[in-house]
């Protein structure tokens, strides 16, 4: 019996393999990178701890334990990371602070992603005069010292968690827009876009269905590098006392508290600093690894 011609199912399977090819390849390269794999693991642990850790302790974020003020870490009292100068448990505060820092990091990155991708893809796709004007606007905004504006915003409108991440996200979209525009410009020349246009697909649909999915690789890299940046900015604000309101405290605010008490209670500085440093470290390593995996031209 001669071999049957491939059925519909098999052809689709094959197509699926090709479609998955880039990501499979990338995943393979990523797994070969030991630093990235370790970082992924550590980050996973940090995220799990931050999400579920606060429930492990019998203390709450705002609870003040008057019997244990500025006490060193100990297992017996249940204050695993020690307490601060009013007796609040640092284990819970550090992990709850991590929730805030990570949430802001992700939310603000989301904002910058949304704005940056639509803006950049639009500019790159339209091209010509519109592209020129749109990118001039980005250039102009790029030259502004945004950190100061974020601080100014905080000063003027008070400490407000939503404002924090909107401000940060609104600042961070510029890079994204630039990267996406560049990619779009080169994608636009490709045959499949031409084919879509020839068959009468509208511009918005082309951008949404054909351009944006192809930008995903760059976007993923950028996201892993933006999240730590945002966390850093937020901690910076928290450190200056311009972050979220007490009794909540992000990592930056905790580090600020710790820095003021470090002669008598170094653990107040060390634990939040450790968590912040570790998280940023992991994100940066993962971003680097992803860049090598998805964009292997400089290997």
């Amino acid at each position: 019996m001669s071999a049957a011609p491939p059925g519909r199912m098999e052809v689709e399977q094959e197509l699926e393999d090709v479609r998955q090819g880039l990501w499979l390849d990338a995943w393979r390269r990523l797994r070969a990178n030991r630093a990235t794999v370790v970082s992924l693991g550590v980050l996973g642990v940090v995220i799990l701890l931050v999400l579920f850790g606060p429930w492990l302790s019998r203390y709450s974020v705002a609870f003040t334990d008057w019997d244990h003020i500025s006490m060193a870490p100990s297992l017996a009292s249940g204050h695993w990371f020690g307490t601060d100068y009013v007796g609040r448990d640092l284990f819970v505060r550090t992990l709850a602070g991590g929730r805030i820092s990570l949430a802001i990091g992700i939310a603000a990155t989301g904002v910058s992603l949304l704005v940056g991708i639509s803006y950049g893809a639009m500019a790159g796709f339209m091209g010509g005069r519109i592209d020129n004007i749109m990118m001039r606007v980005v250039d102009i905004l790029y030259a502004l010292p945004f950190m100061f504006f974020v601080i100014l915003l905080m000063v003027v409108f008070g400490r407000n968690i939503i404002l924090v991440f909107v401000a940060i996200g609104a600042v961070n979209w510029l890079d994204m827009a630039r990267i996406v525009r560049g990619q779009t410009l080169s994608l636009k020349q490709r045959e499949f876009i031409e084919a879509a246009r020839a068959s009468g697909v509208s511009s918005i649909t082309i951008v949404r269905r054909h351009i944006i999915p192809n930008l995903l690789g760059v976007v993923v890299i950028y996201v892993t590098l933006t999240i730590p940046q945002v966390i850093l900015v937020e901690s910076f604000l928290g450190f200056l006392g311009l972050g979220v309101q007490e009794p909540n405290a992000s990592w930056g605010a905790l580090i600020n508290d710790g820095a003021q008490e470090m002669e008598t209670a170094p653990w107040m500085l060390i634990f939040p600093a450790l968590f912040l440093g570790l998280t940023l470290f992991c994100f940066n390593f993962i971003g680097d690894g992803l860049r090598d995996a998805l964009d292997p031209k400089d290997l």
Binding site: D139, I140, L141, A143, L144, P145, M147, F148, F149, I151, L152, L153, M154, V155, V156, F157, G158, P228, L232, S235, F236, F239, L240, G241, L242, G252, I255, N256, G258, A259, M262, E263, P266, L269, A273, L276, G277, L280, F281, N284, F285, D288
Partner: protein, 306 residues
């Protein structure tokens, strides 16, 4: 070159205008006036105060007055430090901040390029891995974490250096703040330098130089170094802005009476005019610095002028 410079100069004007407008209207949009105190002021006094600071004029008039004043280098009075103008506060703080920032920049440049060069030369060897993991640490650990840790180790535990204060600019007082401020940039620059150095070393003209039998030292310093630092020059603009921002925190931590300290105090006390003044001052500085860096870049690499 001159046409390029002129273009860039004109390009900076809208940025400057947006900076001023944004800052001005943001502060004006702030809830609560600058004279809101716990005690209600008698209406006549408040009216007088408002008249004195021109707050009784229509907004657009205030806006143009403000632009006019900034154009003449006047950043207005401070609402908190009643006896000082913002100009005086900046004048007293800026030399200190400048000194700190310039030293940090120098340290970042020297150590960053040297470390990056070594990493590129001994690529994939232990030197490379050490430098690159240190660089990753430098990028990941923010300076407001590094600074207290440095104080904890070198001032509190080892007693080698003072924990804070400016001490009239004594070098002992400057070491820790400069290190804390420079560290992330040492890290960035060494990564950039490694990448560009590898690229340069792989280029044909270096191979030619090597084939000619030039000594390694000559190749590195005369042929490879300058092209390799071009990307770093373009990093100096953002680095300058970041060092200014960083100095806000560093001055706060080490108790150094620079502009950053006034800025934070102003932010906490809601001293709008002071905060606005510092934002405008630093904004203008950053824009000028970006312009200088762009020009330098164009001068070093003729390709960007096209």
């Amino acid at each position: 070159m001159w046409i390029y410079a002129l273009k860039r100069l004109i390009g900076a004007v809208p940025t400057l205008l947006i900076l001023l407008s944004l800052a001005f209207f943001l502060v004006r949009a702030a809830p609560g006036g600058p004279f809101d105190t716990d005690r209600a002021l008698p209406p006549e006094i408040e009216a007088n105060l408002r008249a004195k600071y021109h707050l009784d004029e229509p907004l657009w008039q205030q806006y143009f007055r403000y632009l006019w004043e900034v154009a003449h280098g006047d950043l207005g009075p401070s609402f908190q430090y009643r006896d000082y103008t913002v100009n005086e506060l900046i004048a007293s703080g800026f030399p200190i901040s400048l000194r700190l920032g310039a030293l940090a920049m120098l340290v970042a440049f020297v150590f960053g390029t040297v470390a990056g060069m070594l990493a590129a030369l001994y690529r994939n060897g232990w030197v490379d891995y050490t430098v690159m993991s240190l660089a990753m640490t430098g990028i990941s650990v923010p300076n407001f974490v590094v600074a207290p840790l440095l104080v904890l180790i070198f001032a509190i535990n080892l007693h080698w250096l003072p924990a804070g204060g400016y001490g009239g600019g004594a070098w002992q007082n400057l070491i820790l703040p400069v290190i804390a401020l420079a560290l992330p940039h040492v890290a960035y620059i060494s990564r950039l330098m490694r990448g560009s150095m590898i690229e340069v070393l792989n280029s044909p003209y270096i191979r030619t130089a090597r084939a000619k039998g030039l000594p390694r030292r000559v190749i590195l310093l005369r042929h490879a170094f300058l092209p390799a630092i071009v990307p770093i020059v373009s990093y100096l603009g953002p680095a300058f802005a970041a060092i200014i921002t960083g100095s806000v925190v560093i001055e706060q931590i080490f108790g150094i009476p620079g502009i950053g300290r006034y800025f934070v105090q102003g932010a906490i006390n809601r001293d709008y005019t002071l905060v606005l003044g510092v934002v405008v001052f630093y904004g203008i500085l950053v824009i000028i610095m970006n312009l200088v860096v762009d020009l330098m870049y164009a001068w070093m690499d003729p390709r960007v002028r096209l």
